[in-house]
Assembly symmetry: C2
Homo-oligomer: 685 residues x 2
């Protein structure tokens, strides 16, 4: 491009332009000036020097005769500049890269490790070692300071735990994370990893890197039990000889965020199914799918066997099942046909078994219909109103409710089955729930109050978030407390002593109570909008006041409208952030002495959490699902949209933005680009 | 940047520049013109329109007062151009990406598959199914044409097979590749993958994609035996029920490139070791290393146990062992210390056990010394003259020869052991060698002649390349044939009938024989340089002629100087390319009818290979080894160099260039950039 610019300058000077100057006026004066300058540049400088002076000088550009040439010149300059900047960028990156290699190695120096970290004291109910001091407690100045802070122990390394860690301000707590997996998994993209649209590395982030940011500690172990009295978590790990070793981790505050396990729904033969909870599941699924394709190509495989091997069944029509079916279909349709015999494409079938009458049944009906239409077009066989009864190694038995209400049992040959029918409680959570007895009544998850404190444990010590927990919305159960608080606040302490059955609440009293309910149960806010209407409706005797029975009836009716929060990454994320903000606020309040002053004012048992921070309020931001080169986005309240490639790019953008770190974002972008350039990797290893 | 350019233009117009025009002459005429244009632009256009007109117009740039400002303006323009071009590039990529999604799906159409492909005929010595027609033989026009071509069957999917496939011209052969792994593995970078410097995906390329380029077929199965008479390969595969299924694949030309297995050297306890032959080995090693680091952090791990867990032992001082030790050390030194307790770094030890007196003993001694110095500085414990006797789950027993010649037995506690002490023959190759009896005398590899034809099989049907094969350099064994050929050629057929023991070869005869030897054994060329000297040396009786015994002695002495070729990727690569070129030449010769004419001229048994192509000649291009943020490059013949980061970048560049596809190159570059940006991934999954 530079050669051209110089060539132009020279050839222009050879033209008889000088005599034309007068005729053309200003314009040609300018051109001759340019010619002189170019000529001077050309005669005085060479090579790189010339390039540089051309780039950074503000000398006018040579004036061309043709407009097209001028534009071409400008475009070439644009491209040239880009190449130069890119080149500088690449050289810069290499210089940076070279600086990242540790050429000087730290020699083995004395490291300050407390004796208690090397030989922990034994104790607790089972006389196990207690992790009172960590190996890295003295590793840095800030870690040394944190030793004296309250011990915050987090069980789990998923969405809840990581959101908490990312929001937590460092140096307020001595943080320890206990998780059997040393990585955080970006679960929403897991179906993409099963067929190689994304690589496994783009979905995981080392948990130690996340913990490092808050100066915390990591223990690779599994939580087994909690002693709420002595505030000890009992954890287990398998040592290198395969023996289980147990020890205690003490806490001041404990956050349970251990997630969930796959729900077997009591179906026999699930050992023949694949699951999709972990990164290894994704790899195993990819290997199995490719394995089946390869087996289908062999001459020893009969026709029936080939059709069976290529029959892919997904049990569960929720987002995971639907997205896996979509990704699988994409792979079969975009990559398989390139490299495998054409016969395979013809004999492949993808089936989706759903127990409800629609797939994606938690989504808006229009959107779930869109997904069904899409699948119908893509020849993905959606079987609704169907329940799996038993899984055999080579087939699935399921019952299907017909339109006339009769139930028919069917058998589907299958070569691969994914089981993704919802979640259930981990054995650890079941153990805790049993221990807490009557305080825990939910069979599916640990119950917390709206401050996310585990019911049945000392206030402000144990929290539960994410899939393993559910927020109990028992408004009516707190009726006495609501009445007491609001009347005390309005009429003084004496008003409360009266017999509740003799209460007659006027509209103003009701308004005060509603305010209390809203504060304590933010989820109820939506149902407390028209207070006058509610008052009129439940004032059955039209007395102009609500008596205790009428109030109770009103609150029970609100309870019935409150649904439990979905077991999604979004909820876990919000709960983690909520706890982090609360813990930050608590630390600030303690440090400033404000908390002590406030608690001194309180008359009843002090509720520290309520004093420093509001109750947890879930804000549903929407649900997404990828359905095969198209996506649906349900924003709640009937709003949402569905579409083709543009919706897919929107879906990707949202998850790109939500991804846990800059690293995973770069990796995801790279992997998507790879798919575009090279397709998916049809390899099993 | 644009805002600034406009701002400058405007502020310039506010200056009292108009009156100065006359004084400054041409220069200010130009500036006022620029001002007018800028003002016009600014008043008429806005936003993007303005940007574009500014970019593609050739109007002069506004003239600035200060030189620094001018330079800044130019630099900003440079950067701006780069951003614009980059933006266009990104948009372009998204448009391209969108085009890669199959939004229109091929409906299930009738696919033309031969009945014999679906129900193969049974036959052969064991009456197994015979893969005479492939499922995809009718999938495209070119595949249909290839059905009639000679069947080229390649066993294996490593360096040899892939080099052959990449060099082979399509449509000359009906190509079938049989390999139990459906990917090609870029073995030289395997040590990098064990610690996450590279991801696994960057090292593998789907074998189907490589085969696709020559319109070949792939069978995922394992070669078990070959029937050289009926020209059938017996292969086995495990079906989905875990049963072994066997079938035959017929061939006209067979290439055996099945590689090698790890050499156990008869040591007990290798089940406690890791190997590094496959991509899964790399993942298992990474998991084990991280697992040990995590176990070392737990409070239940005692001091001794921690030291043992962090004792990493590598058995074998060849390139694989050395590179793994280097990569491991890099990871421990660059990444581990960031995220794990400092104590770990102090207690880690890396040991390298080598049986010879130097590591990298096949390299130039200066270079191997450099590597040893580097390791000494890095505190990698190199144990030379040491032989492993037995591996226990938690320790290694080895004997070490002391300087005084005594042999001492030592025990080394270990938490991880890599076994990389060379290669040995696969069971398949052992079976073939046994079958071929006296034609195969080498215990370590299949013997071929210098045309890479497997000794003992019909000429021109079976070839063996790569690690599984060795080229037999038995010059002396061919003495009679050499004498016959050269004398026939010089003196006519009658000369050959004389008794060989009565031969008296003059220097000219010897020269003719040497020429024959060079042609048939290209590796001997180096030892046949001074023919006069050799003649004089072996003409013991100074008769001026060589008799038969003297000639034999001369050739035997040359034989003794010829070493067998190294079992490296480089050799396999060259052999694969050689075979492809020969097969291409053969196809051309057959097609042109030249071959038939040439063979008609031949008097003895026709040697088709020799007629169409020269014998295989290995050209050693050099050996590389990465030794921890530095590398050594041995170019042979005493040349070579070693150095720090620059050598590492050179080492990377060479492998980058050698990588199998554009895809793997892009992935490798991305992975190296990832390491620079984010470090290695310290996760196990």
């Amino acid at each position: 491009m530079l050669g051209r610019s110089i060539g132009r300058g020279r050839s222009a000077s050879l033209r008889p332009g000088g005599t034309a100057t007068a005729r053309m006026g200003l314009k040609f004066d300018y051109e001759s000036l340019a010619q002189q300058r170019i000529q001077r540049l050309f005669s005085h400088h060479h090579g790189l020097h010339l390039v540089l002076s051309r780039y950074i000088s503000s000398d006018p550009l040579p004036r061309k005769g043709s407009r097209a040439l001028r534009i071409a010149y400008r475009l070439a300059a644009l491209l040239g500049s880009a190449v130069v900047v890119l080149g500088i960028g690449i050289v810069g990156f290499f210089i940076y890269d070279a600086s990242t290699y540790a050429t000087e190695h730290a020699n083995q120096r004395e490291v300050d490790v407390a004796a208690l970290a090397l030989n922990p004291r034994h104790g607790g109910p089972k006389n196990l070692p207690i992790l009172e001091v960590c190996l890295d407690d003295n590793d840095s100045e800030s870690m040394r300071r944190q030793k004296e802070k309250p011990r915050l122990v987090i069980l789990g390394g998923g969405w809840g735990a990581v959101s908490l860690l990312k929001e937590l301000e460092p140096e307020n707590y001595h943080v320890t994370v206990i998780s059997p997996k040393n990585y955080f998994l970006f679960t929403p993209m897991l179906p993409s990893a099963t067929v190689g649209t994304l690589g496994l590395r783009a979905l995981v982030e080392p948990i130690r890197r996340i913990i490092h940011a808050v100066g915390g500690h990591y223990v690779r172990a599994q939580a087994e039990n909690v002693d709420f009295q002595s505030r000890l978590v009992e954890v287990s790990q398998t040592d290198c000889n395969g023996n289980e070793q147990r020890f205690y981790v003490p806490y001041d505050k404990l956050v349970i965020a251990v997630g969930s396990v796959t729900n077997p729904h009591g179906v026999k033969g699930l050992e023949h199914c694949h699951f999709l909870k972990d990164i290894n599941d994704a790899r195993e699924i990819r290997n199995k799918v490719i394995q089946n394709l390869e087996l289908a190509c062999l001459p020893t495989t009969s026709d029936d066997e080939r059709r069976r091997l290529l029959s892919f069944v997904v049990c569960g029509g929720g987002p995971t099942g639907v997205e896996f079916a979509a990704e699988l279909f994409d792979m079969l349709n975009e990559d398989l046909i390139q490299l495998f015999p054409k016969l395979l494409r013809n004999e492949i079938s993808v089936h989706l078994i759903q127990s409800r009458d629609h797939i994606l049944n938690t989504y808006d009906e229009t959107l779930s219909k869109y997904a069904e239409d899409r699948f119908a077009r893509d020849q993905v066989d959606v079987l609704v109103n169907s329940r799996v009864r038993e899984v055999h190694p080579d087939s699935i038995i399921f019952t299907q409710k017909q339109d006339d209400g009769t139930i028919v049992t069917k058998q589907l040959p299958m070569g691969f089955c994914l089981w993704s029918t919802g979640v259930s409680q981990t054995p650890f959570c079941k153990r805790l729930a049993a221990k807490l007895g009557s305080a825990q009544t939910n069979r599916h998850a640990l119950e917390t109050d709206t401050h996310l404190r585990l019911n049945g444990t000392p206030l402000g010590e144990v929290y539960a978030i994410g899939d393993c927990a559910t927020v109990q919305n028992n408004v009516a159960d707190h009726i006495v407390s609501f009445v007491k608080r609001s009347l005390t606040w309005k009429h003084g302490a004496s008003a409360v002593d009266t017999d509740p059955s003799k209460l007659h609440l006027r509209f103003n009293d009701w308004r005060a109570i509603a305010e209390q309910v809203r504060k304590r149960f933010p989820q109820a806010t939506d149902h407390l909008k028209r207070l006058d209407k509610l008052f009129a409706e439940y004032d059955r005797d039209k007395s102009g006041t609500l008596d205790f029975a009428e109030l109770r009836e009103l609150l029970v009716q609100i309870d019935s409208k409150l649904t439990s929060l979905p077991a999604t990454a979004q909820r876990a994320h919000q709960q983690g952030q909520y706890l982090a903000k609360k813990f930050n606020a608590l630390a600030r309040a303690v440090n400033s002495g404000r908390l002590i002053r406030e608690l001194a004012k309180a008359e009843e048992t002090p509720d520290v959490d309520a004093a420093v921070y509001k109750a947890f309020d879930y804000k549903h931001l929407g649900s997404l699902a990828y359905i095969g080169n198209s996506a649906i986005l349900d924003l709640g309240h009937g709003r949402g949209f569905a579409g083709g490639l543009w919706a897919m790019y929107a879906w990707r953008s949202i998850y790109f933005a939500q991804s846990v770190s800059f690293r995973t974002r770069v990796l995801m972008a790279m992997d998507w680009a790879k798919r575009g350039l090279f397709g998916r990797d049809l390899m099993s290893y």
